[in-house]
């Protein structure tokens, strides 16, 4: 590991230039809570580390003109938690981001890193999918936007093109009566990897769901947007039949692995249970409860 180079550019253009020029031998350093562990374990041996935390766009949280938020990809979970308004507008996204690791890990770990690490069990990803977050990506061919659910390609892999860097997440403005929630199932109470994770975002008007999105994690090679679950909820009063239909849609979307944390049968069952619980929390919040 003696031939590693380190760069901390102050602009995105410099970062993209160096990252692309290294042709796959480079790694992006945001919080480093996955990268440094992987380097130490010998899983990866990058020739170049591009530290993006000197680029202000990557570390800032902005409120957009319409009332949405733009979160830099390298913003730490702790910094997001200290924002005076973000957690009130997007409590589910915040609780998902803040579930990643310990206090020490929260001081560094970022939503951009969680997404690009490509784990099917990354906690922030289902909540970001439910939120309808759009990712801004910059690469050698310029900037583009993609829905967050289009980024993961499989365990440890993304659909980013060579030389592309995730710059930020844009979360849309929230209509009145909207809220979100995230729940995960782990075999212990803290510091573990999700067996199932569910993010739900709802907009309610007159007791009915007018908009919904559901993100489902840790039960397939990538985190999933479950459109059938959202369709079961939209237009309903969240009566038992429609919530059960949404739970069934989540169970049907599962293609999980069998491992020491949970069997296929268990993960599939829990996906439905967690969907119901997460919907209940999001609905309660959306009603101002």
């Amino acid at each position: 590991m003696t031939d590693i180079r380190y760069l901390a550019p102050k602009t995105l253009d410099e970062a993209v230039g160096a990252f692309a020029a290294a042709q796959g031998a480079a790694r992006i350093l945001a919080g480093g809570t996955d990268l440094l562990v992987q380097m130490r374990a010998g899983v990866i041996r990058p020739g170049l580390i591009v530290d993006i935390k000197k680029i202000s766009e990557m570390t800032s949280i902005e409120e957009t003109a319409g009332g949405g938020f733009r979160i830099g990809a390298a913003v730490s979970g702790a910094a997001l938690g200290e924002h005076p308004r973000f957690g009130r507008v997007w409590p589910g996204v915040l609780e998902a981001v803040n579930l990643i690791g310990s206090t020490q890990v929260q001081g560094r770990a970022s939503p951009g890193g969680n997404l690009c690490n490509g784990s099917p069990a990354g906690d922030s990803v289902p909540a970001m999918i439910a939120a309808g977050a759009v990712v801004t990506v910059q690469g050698p061919a310029g900037r583009r936007e993609m829905p967050v659910e289009a980024v993961p390609a499989g365990p440890g892999r993304t659909n980013l093109k060579p030389g592309e860097i995730v710059v930020s997440f844009t979360l849309p403005p929230r209509p009145a009566g909207s809220s979100d929630a995230y729940l995960r199932m782990i075999p212990r109470t803290e510091m573990d990897i999700a067996v199932v994770g569910v993010g739900v975002s709802l907009t309610m008007a007159g007791g009915k769901v007018t908009a919904a999105r559901v993100g489902l994690g840790a039960v397939a090679p990538t985190v999933l947007l479950v459109g059938d679950a959202a369709r079961a909820l939209i237009g309903s009063t969240l009566n038992e039949a429609s919530v059960e239909a949404a739970a069934a849609a989540c169970r049907a979307a599962c293609k999980p692995i069998d491992d020491k944390r949970g069997t296929i049968v268990y993960r599939t069952k829990v996906a439905g249970v967690l969907l119901k619980r997460t919907v209940a929390i999001a609905a309660d919040r959306a009603k101002g409860g």
């Binding site: 590991m1 003696t2 031939d3 590693i4 180079r5 380190y6 901390a8 350093l29 919080g31 480093g32 809570t33 440094l36 562990v37 380097m39 130490r40 374990a41 580390i49 530290d51 935390k53 730490s76 702790a78 690791g101 310990s102 206090t103 020490q104 890990v105 001081g107 560094r108 803290e190 510091m191």
Partner: protein
């Protein structure tokens, strides 16, 4: 890449060192800088024994590259006491014997101080969650949590 020259601030003092790009901050603290109070337990961010603050934020020194210290301000356990005067948390940990072997103690103290700076009146649950990233293999958590709560109460009384 040859050794790099880094200028930083550690425990309030300007500090310079040379490091390799792959070296962790913990490697440099414990090696060339001789600040061996921060311990290496796991080296992968799970145990918290290397807890330091980086620009005021609690982090694991093992999950930070030494290169990232350029222009930053770091505090370690060596900066916790003021001369011979122990920090109230250190004093309380001694009085209440909130340690056994002591390996986790520097990290626990750094994390506890970081909590009390943000929340002078934490509940027991808040202390336990905040310290969830600091592992003690002597199973001494109960004394640790009680010492943090008692220190917080003392500090609130002294501030009043």
């Amino acid at each position: 890449m040859a050794k790099q020259h880094i200028s930083t601030t550690i425990n309030g003092e300007p500090m310079e060192f040379l490091c390799e790009p792959h070296q962790s901050m913990l490697d440099v603290l414990r090696g060339p800088l001789g600040l061996t109070g921060s311990k290496e337990g796991c080296g992968s961010g799970d145990c918290g024994a290397c807890s330091v603050t980086l620009d005021g934020r609690l982090v694991c020194a093992c999950l930070m590259l030494a290169m990232e210290a350029e222009g930053a301000s770091i505090t370690t356990i060596e900066g916790m006491a003021t001369g011979e005067a122990l920090h109230p948390l250190q004093q309380k940990f001694l009085e209440m014997a909130a340690l056994q072997c002591g390996i986790c103690t520097p990290g626990v103290l750094m994390a506890a101080r970081s909590l009390l700076e943000r929340n002078p009146d934490p509940s027991e649950t808040e202390v336990r969650f905040w310290l969830a990233g600091n592992l003690c293999r002597c199973t001494g958590y109960d004394k640790i949590v009680r010492a943090v709560l008692e220190t917080a109460a003392d500090m609130r009384e002294n501030a009043a």
